[in-house]
């Protein structure tokens, strides 16, 4: 979906509580969020439960989204990530609510997603496919180094050194 369209839909949700606009956003983002949770090894029931929480949050906090500062996909990703963190903490006696902290940082963060886009593009040009895959497996899908080693059929030590090398490579641009 095009960015201008997304921005328009979110605006309608925030200002007019437009349910039709929300249904379009739901169709766009819910299957992605749900897939993210399944990739993170949650059962399909848990994945859908958390997807529901993320979409409810988008509905409630639409007003908080600042299209000049953030990309919708990144904003949604961080909500999904925070729900996953809080989900795992539910089993323990938890002190801090990740969502609240994240909201605070979001409101006060001066970084603009569009201004750092050149850096992000440079990083993705610089990393080869294998390195991008490693970042994805380790930081997006939260796979353990052991699991990555098994899946890619390479030694555990190699996984560790390759991830470190990839982060080092990214460092130049940070």
């Amino acid at each position: 979906m095009e960015n201008t369209k997304i921005v328009n839909l979110i605006k309608k949700i925030a200002e007019e509580r437009d349910e039709r606009a929300f249904s379009e956003i739901f169709d766009f983002i819910a299957p992605k969020i749900n897939a993210y949770y399944i990739k993170n090894n949650l059962s399909s029931e848990q994945a859908e439960e958390l997807t529901q929480e993320v979409l409810s949050t988008i509905w409630i906090k639409a007003k908080l989204f600042n299209p000049e500062k953030s990309k919708f996909i990144t904003w949604s990703f961080t909500i999904a990530r925070n729900k996953r963190i809080d989900f795992y903490r539910k089993s323990k006696k938890s002190n801090a609510n990740e969502d609240d902290i994240r909201d605070f940082l979001y409101e006060n963060n001066k970084v603009n997603d569009y201004e750092i886009e050149t850096i992000i593009n440079k990083i993705s040009e610089e990393l080869d496919q294998n390195q991008q895959k490693l970042i994805k497996m380790s930081f997006f899908e939260q796979k353990s180094h052991k699991k990555i080693a098994d899946e890619l059929e390479i030694p555990l030590g190699t996984v560790k050194s390759r991830i470190r090398a990839t982060l080092n490579k990214m460092q130049k641009f940070l």
């Binding site: 819910a30 997807t51 529901q52 409810s56 988008i58 002190n95 990740e98």
Partner: protein, 209 residues
């Protein structure tokens, strides 16, 4: 290991959501106080979020958009009014019940059910911490004031990472002293004249944790 790499790894861990609760709070304070760190976190979050675009979608089977409106019961979002992530968790930082450790040095342990020990440290102006090393890693973030040691000067928003290889004797600035947030993965090891006494105290203290 280069400490910038270690700081980035911590930020990346935060962005991906795989840090424990204590480290997570620590990094959120770091991002709050340090704009370069906040920028790095944003870069990494954007890179991770781009994976959502290329992911093979899985449509939820038992979830409709109306379910997400219904459950939220239209409760309006309230803007978070705390001053920073730490006060969101601890309340007013001016009302902390500091524990006296030795003259000029106070600390407050944060009640985390976590593998890492988190504490706030308050050092009066000009006070030094005896020369020590660390069994595991220690992360120190300056919240107020500044301190310096053999490796440099650390101001508000600066982070220092210490491990076994590092021996240092930090001294709080003469003007403001300093308040730091620290995370230790293992107890520190004191060296020097009072080293053995302090190590013994740390050892005895560990029984009361």
């Amino acid at each position: 290991m280069n400490s910038t790499v270690q700081k980035n790894e911590l930020i990346f861990g935060y962005s991906s959501g795989n840090l424990g609760e204590a480290k997570s709070l620590f990094v959120s304070m770091y991002l709050h106080l340090n704009s370069l760190a906040a920028k790095r976190a944003s870069i990494f979050e954007n890179i991770l979020a781009n994976n959502l675009q290329s992911l093979k979608e899985v449509a939820p089977r038992n979830l409709k958009y109306t379910d997400c409106i219904k459950t939220s019961s239209d409760s309006e979002y309230k803007i978070n009014t705390s001053n920073n992530p730490l006060s969101n968790f601890l309340g007013d930082l001016n009302n902390i019940n500091w524990k006296f450790v030795y003259k000029g040095f106070k600390e407050f342990n944060l009640p985390f059910d976590d593998n890492d020990t988190v504490k706030l440290i308050k050092i009066d102006p000009g006070t030094s911490v005896p020369l020590h090393s660390h069994n595991g890693k220690e992360y120190i973030l300056v919240l107020e004031g500044s301190f310096c040691d053999e490796y440099g000067e650390y101001n508000k928003g600066d982070m220092q990472i210490n491990d076994q290889k590092i021996k240092h004797k930090p001294t709080a600035s003469n003007k403001d002293g300093c308040i730091c947030l620290s995370i230790t993965e293992n107890d520190i090891v004191f060296i020097g004249k009072f080293g053995s006494v302090l190590n013994l105290l740390t050892f005895i203290k560990s029984f009361f944790k």
